[in-house]
Each structure stands twice: as structure tokens, then as C-alpha cells.
Symmetry: C3
Subunit: 121 residues, 3 copies
């Protein structure tokens, strides 16, 4: 039996990978890039929530998040929706910087690592 | 009892998070951004040293460091102080690239992961 | 006995570090920067393959890869060689963004984490 569980895999990447009590996520981006940063961030959070659920955990178990914004002009707006999304008292470590993505309409990408629920493998 | 210990947490992030023998740090930036890259890097190293101490480890146990510089013009100067800070024979893995941060006066941000002391949980 | 094994270490960084069943790689860049992105990516993959072998594992055990491209104009060409390099059915999580590196001729840097072979320490 494999010690690695890959979730939603294609020829390029696994969208998530579970190994030794942690779930690693690929950089998550919004599908609809016609909207502003608040909507795009919300779409990314929804994807993260769904992947964490599929791995058997949730956002209260996030360990680290790396946030890439296309422009730091969106920093304050992004933080508003971020602060409303994270679980008070159970916030992850975070970093946030300006990194452009392939699609110029894409305003945000987030890479995250979370722990499985206590006792899960 | 929780298997996660969060250090210096606010509504947005934990400055450090201990889980399963590792401590993950949020991106550390200097408080005083009026200085040059050497001084800013030194301030970041001091913060990292303090967080590692609070987690019960030290820089000789660093596993990885991701260094973001505002400009690669600072690469040589940053490396000078970096090389003096790391422990000879116990250097972490590293990457370093140009990533702009929210405050344009902020010249450096470092994200690091370290192992707890051998045998610690 | 140490619980950390460092591979190809100099005064600045370890090129790889093995700890608790994982191997962490420093950002890998090509030595020859006179070539295009396909050749540079191939050189980086070769370095990663060699480091994973030295750590006792291989690319089928990759967990995550962070890809920095100097320009997203190289995204499609990079993906071509990436898709040919990864192991079908065993792809890692991935993120990819525009991050400039110190040497302006360097088009790609990759930071990766892999698991050791099942049962290895």
C-alpha cells in the first residue's frame, strides 16, 4: 500500500498530496478571473476548503500558507477576506509577496500545507 | 491536548507554529525599514533566532529558508550577513529570488522551517 | 548520531537536507545559462534527479515543487519539458510564478521536497 495519496491528479501535478500526516496543496488559483481580488480570493479559499475536506481535514489545521498577489495594491482587500476566512485562535503561518502568474487576469495564488486531524495517518 | 503549538498569534497569522517535530515560521520582516539590507537582514535573523528559541530550537537546526529580496542588487550584501549568521557545517537548504513586499521600504523577507531538538516532540 | 543529513554543503547552504523521512532541496538552477528555458529546465531536472538519488529516493516520490520562471513567456515551453519529466500517476503538487533570480541569464529555479522510499528513515 502506498504511503502517498494524491488527490485530483493530472499529467502535470497533483492538486493535493497526503503524506505522513500532512496534506500539501498545489498553488490554488481562481477559475473565474474576470472578478476582483476579493472574489478571486474567495474562490481560492473555497478550493482549499474542498481539498482539505477531501484529505480529511479543514482550515483550522492549516500550518502554512504562501500567498502570491499580482499586485500589492490588492494587499488590504485580500487581507480583509483572508482575516474573515481563517479560524480565530487557529491561524496558520503566512507569507505574502508580489508574484505574477501566467494568466495576467489571475490576481492571487495560494500554496498551503495542513495537518490531518489528530491521530489520522 | 492539541498537537499544534502556535506562537505569537494574531487574527491574521501565527508567527510560528510547532507541529510534529518541526517549527514553521511566517515570513519574517524587519520592523525598522529605514535602514539598508544588511541592517534589515540582521533584524530578521534576530526575529528568527527568538522564534526558534521560543519553539525550543535554534538556527543550527534550520531545514529550509526561502529568501525574498526586493531587489537582487542587494544579493551580495545580503549574502555577507547571511553567511556570517548561519552555523558552519549546519547550513539549511535555501532559495533566494526577487519578490516585492507590501511596504516598498522593506528589502527582505525570510520564511523558514526548522527541526526541534532531537527527541523533542 | 545526527537526525539530519546534509548533502553537498558549503558555507551558505546545503544543497539537500534529509530529515524525518523527507529530503528538502535548495533552489536548483542550471549551471549553463547560455541556453533556452527547455535546456535550462532539463539541467535543473538532472540536478534534482541526482540529489534525490543521493538522498536515496527518486522523482516518483516528489511531494512538492515550487517553480520560479524569469518570465511567464517561458511557461508553455517549461511545461512541455516538465510534463515529460514527471512520473505519470505520481506527480507532485506544484506552483509556478514569475520570480527573477540573481543572474539575469538564469531562466528557472526549482525548490522541491520529496519523501524517502517507503520505510526509509
Amino acid at each position: 500500500m502506498s504511503d502517498m495519496k494524491r488527490i485530483d491528479q493530472n499529467a502535470r501535478r497533483s492538486r493535493a498530496l497526503v503524506h505522513n500526516g500532512l496534506v500539501y496543496l498545489s498553488g490554488q488559483v481562481p477559475d473565474d478571473r474576470s472578478t476582483g481580488v476579493r472574489e478571486q480570493a474567495g474562490a481560492v479559499f473555497k478550493k482549499i476548503d474542498e481539498l482539505l475536506a477531501e484529505a480529511g481535514t479543514d482550515k483550522s489545521r492549516l500550518i502554512s500558507a504562501q500567498v502570491w498577489l499580482k499586485t500589492m495594491d490588492d494587499f488590504a482587500a485580500f487581507n480583509e477576506v483572508w482575516d474573515a476566512w481563517v479560524v480565530p485562535g487557529q491561524t496558520p503561518t503566512r507569507c505574502c509577496g508580489k508574484v505574477e502568474l501566467n494568466d495576467p487576469r489571475c490576481l492571487v495564488e495560494i500554496v498551503a500545507i495542513a495537518a490531518l486531524r489528530n491521530g489520522a495517518q
